[in-house]
Amino acid sequence: MEFFHKVTKYPFMHTRKVWYGVSGAAIIASIVLLFVHGLNLGIDFTGGVVLEFAYPQTANIERTRSALTGGGFGEVQVQNFGDEHNIMVRLLPHEGQDVNQVSAAVTAALKKIDPNVELRRAEVVGPQVGEELTNQGGLAVLFTFVLIGIYTWFRFQWKMGISAVIATLHDPLIILGFFAVTDIPFDLAGLAAILAVIGYSLNDTVVVFDRVRENFHSMRRSTPEEIMDASINQTLSRTIITSGATLLVVVVLLIEGGETLRGFSWALTIGILVGTYSSIYVAGALALDMKLSALDLIEQRKDTSEIDALP
């Protein structure tokens, strides 16, 4: 089977202004959403307590909530987790609370109304640790960008390096925008997924740029725009098939991975879609608008012969 029997000839670069607009709008929307609405941050970042309980029968959310409110636990969120037997209790950190005692106290309060309840998972993160994880996460993303930028710079050329990094920067922003819109909790695993997406999206861009470099050598008569279009078209089949194959397994994770991996799987799914788009429409276009030309990629042959006056 072959979806791309002939090499396609889509004029991707011709419409690049349109895609700049689309990407720009998506990025601005994401940033605005992040500021206005914010992320539903998991306790990894906010600090606090998350407890997961399992009941042998259908869990009664209302009873659980009323058992806990007024128990001096501060703000309590109770919701189903995965299926109707499991509930998740989340407490936000508040002053003067000894985090070490919270899980014991909540468990005791729930056992009082139903002794069959089972504590399946407890996560207690002090506000200090949450702050550190946030900082470390930000640093990790920053470091990845710097290292990847340096690598593409050396391996290709500075214009391509900068374009690749900008095109890749675009992906995590849109993923975060997606998390802000949907209110899906963003946790450490989600952050790990973003880093994986950065690597993955750049991987796509690198494949295109590899071809661009090759084509600048073989298509000397063509304009940079033609070369860019040809390169994207020649690699299009691979880009789409690989993304399809990866999306296939990531969607399996989304469906089968359970509640714990929900944020992680969503970040990967959105990341693969956006990453594929940005490698096709954004990275090449930026390099083109930075006036990438054959001179940037083809080494000038240096004249090493010397003339010296006779002594």
């Binding site: 997961e52 998972r121 002090g126 691979r238």
Partner: protein
């Protein structure tokens, strides 16, 4: 046809065989087991193992496998019921000689274990267990040290009859105001410590000459290290007491301690036990009375206390306390002239009391008493004194003869190396500990852990089947090559993870699934190139060759970026995220090998030897 070096075939075969061998133990799964260690912390040996097996066979408890591992005896059973029965038998008939921990052990055959093949080590979110991060208040430790410095200074000046107006603490400075210049120079000489940990500076003030003492930054760092180390020691002792298999207690960053307890179901119970505190007392041994007699008649001489040594022998100690753990500033183990010794340092107050006591008691013995205070759970027995649900247990950890008059620093000799190390550890853990609190706690119940494994394996199986079908339809015969390569890649990844014993978490399994997509990418790149070459009118064999050649650079380039992300993630991530990073990084390495070398070998073996190849199934 094109040359394909023979050694590459061999390389592929050898790597695959070794990888499969390492991956193999994972196929057998795990069974319920018990891990036995000896109560007195000596190693389990074959004789003891036979004794335990004898107990079990007398009770007709069938044992599936038994072997010694890291000073412990591992017993594996067919099911949880047998495991429970065996535990009961051993606790009932073992005379309290063994610590029994519930655990699970691999069902892999004995020969695999014998050559060191082990299944992957599962993270806490898969096997169940608790994970704590303690934060040690290192500033508190410095405060304690400064308080001690202030007290010691006063004692020292008084002892040396140096006139002073005041000794005060202002922040991290101890300020001494002296009567006159003569006292000042004497004070400067006296207060200078031999190790140079304290900086002295003198100046003049309205009240008189002033000497200011502050700790050097190196000293502050050393004190913080000691404080954290001390708390780690105390936690390790507690954890040992829990008798669980493969616990982890390690330092993280400057002031954090990570404790991981696999298989522990109740985090609150663990917190309670780990929260026990210890202290020390130095007392003289009562050598005029017979401890065995006192134990039997239950009549303890006036002025003495009956205690137990660690090996269970009774000992009588005097009621008067010479010094306590609060006055202990350091204890370390080392060798002097080849003989092991424990060096003990007390503060000035403790040193003074030590000198006063020992000068009349040279030739007698001095005992070190280790006192533990812990909260009791319902139904838990207290070996010592009980008040409410607080239990105080005392034991004598060392009783040595006083050779000469001792002061604030002395050494304990005549101990075995292991005994000496243990003694130094216990001494330090009984010193005044820096306060610590739990800043992070994660626990996963065993049922959730099992669910996570089930989910992960299911996602992996479905992902694999879908990828297989997709590749087979899209690339036909070459698709099956890609599938074989993907399978080899999975086996190698699992083999590497088993070899490195890096713990696998749920995000780690997710990385394996995600990685399947990335792993087929290398093959897709190659096949697309081959198709391109075919379209350009090249012969099938030439197309294969050029396809592999040209795709290689792209594959390498594109994988480096993912590798960078993986390495950064590894450096910054902790716990479950680190597992994700490890799998991602290892996966890229294995997929580079399998797709570039392995895939080419396979393609060459199938198509490369044909004289005439008109058509490729791609």
């Amino acid at each position: 046809m094109y040359q394909f070096a023979k050694w590459k075939y061999w390389l592929v075969i050898i790597v695959l065989v070794v990888g499969t061998l390492y991956a193999l133990p994972n196929v057998f799964g795990e069974g319920p087991s018990l891990q036995l260690s000896r109560n007195d912390r000596t190693a389990m040996d074959q004789a003891k193992a036979d004794q335990v097996l004898g107990l079990l066979s007398a009770d007709t408890v069938p044992v599936e496998a038994s072997y010694l591992e890291k000073d412990r005896l591992v017993l594996r059973f067919a099911d949880a019921a047998t495991q429970a029965k065996a535990r009961e038998t051993i606790t009932k008939r073992g005379n309290g000689e063994f610590l029994v921990a519930l655990s699970s052990a691999s069902r892999a055959p004995a020969w695999m274990r014998a050559i060191g093949l082990k299944p992957m080590s599962l993270g806490l979110d898969l096997r169940g267990g608790v994970h704590f991060v303690y934060e040690v208040d290192v500033q508190g430790a410095i405060e304690q040290a400064l308080d001690r410095m202030e007290r010691d200074t006063r004692t020292t000046l008084r002892d040396k009859r140096i006139g002073y107006t005041s000794v005060t603490r202002e922040g991290d400075v101890v300020r001494v105001v002296l009567r006159n210049a003569d006292d000042e120079s004497k004070a400067m000489d006296t207060l200078r410590t031999p190790d140079g940990g304290v900086l002295l500076s003198s100046s003049q003030s309205a009240e008189g000459p002033v000497v200011e003492m502050r700790m050097t930054p190196a000293e502050v760092k050393r004190r913080q290290d000691i404080a954290v180390q001390q708390n780690i020691t105390t936690l390790r002792n507690r954890v040992d007491e829990l008798g669980i298999s493969e616990p982890i207690v390690t330092r993280q960053a400057i002031n954090r301690i990570v404790v991981q307890l696999p298989g522990v179901n109740d985090p609150n119970e663990a917190i309670r036990i780990l929260g026990a505190t210890a202290t020390l007392e130095f007392r003289l041994v009562d050598e005029n009375n017979n401890p065995y007699e006192a134990q039997q008649t239950k009549r303890v001489p006036i002025g003495s206390k009956l205690m137990m040594e660690r090996d269970g022998r009774p000992i009588l100690v005097k009621r008067d306390i010479i010094a306590t753990g609060e006055q202990l500033s350091d204890a370390s183990f080392n060798f002097a002239e080849g003989a092991p010794q424990v060096n003990v340092t007390l503060d000035a107050r403790g040193g003074k009391s030590m000198m006063e006591t020992t000068k009349d008691n040279v030739g007698r013995r001095m005992a070190v008493v280790y006192i533990e205070k812990k909260q009791l759970a319902e139904g838990e027995r207290c070996e010592g004194q009980r008040s409410g649900n607080l239990c105080t247990e005392e034991s004598v950890i060392n009783a040595a003869t006083i050779q000469s008059v001792l002061s604030s620093s002395f050494r304990i000799t005549g101990v075995q190396a292991t005994e000496g190390k243990e003694l130094a550890l216990l001494l330090r853990s009984g010193a005044l500990a820096a306060p610590q609190s739990i800043v992070e706690q994660r626990s996963v119940g065993p049922s959730l852990g099992a669910d996570n494994i089930k989910r992960g394996v299911r996602a992996m199986a479905i992902g694999l089947v879908l990828t297989f079908v997709f590749m087979a339809i899209y690339y036909r015969a070459f698709g099956w090559v890609a599938n074989a390569v993907l399978l080899a890649n999975l086996i190698l990844t699992v083999g590497l993870l088993s070899m490195l014993q890096a713990s696998l978490s749920l995000p780690g399994i997710a990385a394996v699934v995600f990685h399947m997509g990335i792993a087929v990418d290398a093959n897709i790149l190659i096949y697309e190139r081959i198709r391109e070459e075919l379209r350009a009118g090249n012969s099938p064999l030439a197309a294969i060759n050029v396809g592999f050649e040209k795709a290689f650079a792209t594959i390498a380039d594109s994988n480096v970026t993912t590798l960078i992300a993986g390495v950064v993630l590894f450096a910054f991530g902790t716990g479950t995220i680190r597992s994700f990073a490890i799998v991602m990084t290892l996966g890229i390495i294995t997929s580079l090998f399998t797709s570039v070398v392995g895939s080419r070998a396979l393609v060459h073996a199938i198509w490369g030897r044909r004289r005439r190849l008109e058509h490729l199934s791609i």
